[in-house]
């Protein structure tokens, strides 16, 4: 276990380093001189001397490797620079926006669970009957409808036509419904199918026959014994789809004017606010990488047959 953990941590450090190299490299490749851009944003006429002074102050006249070292040192201390437009530290901007996005993600996850879990249990209980077909149809449609279009349709139906819910911005619970629904629907179909497949798979195992032989109720077998085995593929995909969830929040936030990290990123890209883009890329990249590692570690807990280290995963 410890050997496995150490190896994973080393890998983690390597991936994070790679992420920082790519971010730094792309930033250096970006067209336009950042010093001139910085000066242009303030819209003042500058002299050569002032430009050189700023260049020196920002360290842009030093060798690339030294710049990278300085930059990396700053990142490690959570110094992500200052937003060109908002004139405040990027870290503060990110922290301000984070709870809003987390709220949206939680809403989306709740919708996913509320839809996927009952559907999967019904489909696994009655395979080949109508709940199964329904979940299959939903999965095909759900995987083919892009979330932004789904959001537009929901907005059109519930906000414009029926006038039940607000379309834009943030406010009470009613503002959360449509964005969460948009985010959750796109994932629900996938998870329902996965969970169903997992349930059916573990229902065919010996330990389920043993449970049946002991005379346990079918419901209890399904919810207690089969579920644990069925969670493994779901958790795997959940971990792998963190990126998709994040992409989903960007779409939904931009669509519904939800003031979270995603809409911040889009604004920053369109207005070329590099420090904010960099902060977003590093934050989301690190989050995804960390979640993937946690998912890897959770396998052993979910399936006692998996042992880390000797002969098992390594």
């Amino acid at each position: 276990m410890w050997r496995f953990l150490r190896k994973r941590l080393l890998q983690l450090a390597l991936v994070l380093f790679l992420l920082s190299v790519v971010t730094f490299g792309l930033m250096k490749l970006a067209p336009g001189d950042p010093v001139l851009q910085l000066l242009r944003i303030d819209q003042v006429v500058v002299t050569q001397a002032e430009e050189a002074a700023l260049r020196n102050q920002l360290g842009f006249d030093r060798p690339l490797l030294a710049q990278f070292g300085d930059w990396l040192l700053g990142i490690v201390q959570l110094d992500l620079g200052t937003s060109l437009l908002q004139k405040r530290p990027v870290w503060d901007v990110l922290i301000d926006r984070l709870p809003t996005t987390l709220l949206l993600a939680a809403g989306g996850l709740l919708v996913t669970l509320l839809l996927a879990v009952p559907l999967a249990f019904l489909a696994a209980r009655y395979p080949g009957r109508w709940p199964d077909h329904l979940s299959r149809l939903l999965a095909l449609v759900g995987s083919s409808i892009p979330s932004f279009w789904m959001g537009l349709l929901l907005m059109y139906l519930f906000a414009y036509q029926l006038n039940w819910l607000p379309t834009m911005g943030q406010g009470g619970l009613s503002h959360l419904i449509l964005p969460s629904l948009t985010l959750g629907l796109s994932m629900a179909a996938l998870y329902a199918r996965l969970l169903r497949a997992g349930l059916l798979e573990s229902l065919s195992q010996e330990y389920i026959r043993a449970a049946r032989a002991r005379g346990l109720a079918e419901r209890r077998i399904l919810t207690k014994h089969a579920l644990r085995g069925a969670l493994l593929p779901v958790i795997t995909v959940f971990g792998m789809s963190t990126g998709h969830v994040l992409a989903g929040t960007v779409v939904v936030e931009s669509l519904f004017g939800w003031p979270g990290l995603g809409s911040m990123a889009i604004e920053a890209i369109l207005q070329r606010d590099f420090p904010v883009i960099q902060g977003y890329v590093l934050l989301t990249g690190t989050t995804i990488v960390l979640i993937n590692m946690l998912v890897d570690l959770s396998y052993g807990w979910l399936d006692p047959r998996i042992r880390y280290g000797k002969g098992g995963l390594s």
Binding site: V15, V22, P146, L152, Y156, A265, I277, Y280, G285
Partner: protein
């Protein structure tokens, strides 16, 4: 690449002729028919309705369908049908470009890594692992953010991520195949490494790569339209379907067609690709390999 030996090769264990290659199941046929419809739209659409998809005419904005404009006009007075047809060209062309370039990078990479083995293989796979650790979405955001939003930058970031799965699939198949007796026999008979690759290993890759590609086309189309919708992909006035949805956002209440038609187009193309992939998979039963 080499066209002839791919299909006519007499490599065991599967001998195929070109017609037996295509599945006859319903999934594949309906997917192919649907996709053909969009190819027709892309090719014949501009002939049927000879309006220019980019000409702005503010006196003709948001018109209902008419003989001249079969689906009406958008908020800048551009023919919606012509834009949808041009959008089909953009979508199909660009996603085909992505898949072909990804296959052209991934297949040789996997072949070389798999056949050579040893240290070269280890280093090549380390490169693959490194690339796959970067989340696709984050990379796309980073590239659009730092290099500027454009369709070509989006394609670049998709290619950088997508070639990995091809390299991995190819390598794993090569690793399994190269131990088999017919490959060994070929080596013993004095065939050189490259000929073995071309005549014996490459044909084995056909079915899994086709399924993977068919699945990926749908994903790539969704990704491109999503980023274009966010303003980070195809830029106006390019009539990409996602970008069209973004352009028309303020006018949905008055003219729902601006919202419905490009969306339906995206969904249908993606469904067609998924059906095609399912049909191919059932036909070849890739999962059991």
């Amino acid at each position: 690449m080499n066209e002839t030996p791919l299909l006519t090769t007499d490599s065991p264990p599967h001998r195929r002729t070109i017609w037996r290659l295509f599945p006859r199941n319903l999934l594949f046929r309906s997917g192919a028919a649907l996709l053909l419809l969009f190819v027709l739209l892309a090719v014949c659409g501009p002939l049927l309705v000879p309006n220019d998809p980019l000409t702005v005419d503010m006196s003709k904005r948001l018109l209902p369908p008419s003989f001249e404009y079969p689906l009406g006009t958008d908020h800048l007075g551009r023919c919606l049908f012509a834009r949808l047809a041009e959008g089909a060209q953009v979508t199909l062309g660009v996603s085909a470009l992505v898949i072909v370039s990804v296959a052209l990078i991934g297949i040789p990479f996997g072949l070389i890594a798999g056949t050579s083995g040893g240290r070269l293989d280890a280093w090549m796979m380390r490169l693959v692992d490194g690339c796959s650790a970067l989340p696709e979405f984050v990379l796309a955001i980073a590239i659009a953010g730092f290099l500027g939003p454009s369709l070509s930058h989006l394609l670049l970031s998709i290619i950088v991520i997508k070639w990995i799965s091809y390299a991995r699939v190819v390598r794993s198949i090569v690793l399994a195949e190269r131990e088999k007796e017919y490959v060994l026999a070929a080596y013993v008979a004095g065939t050189n490494k490259w000929t073995v690759m071309r005549r014996h290993l490459l044909p084995q890759l056909l079915s899994p790569i086709c399924v993977l590609a068919a699945l990926d086309v749908g994903k790539v189309i969704m990704l491109i339209s999503m980023f274009s919708f966010l303003g980070l992909g195809a830029q106006p006035p390019t009539p990409e379907w996602g970008a069209m949805l973004n352009d028309g956002r303020p006018y949905f209440q008055t003219v729902p067609a601006l919202m419905i038609l490009p969306g339906v187009a995206i969904v249908l193309v993606v469904i067609a690709c998924n059906l095609l992939a399912d049909g191919l998979r059932d036909h070849w039963d890739v999962r059991s390999q």
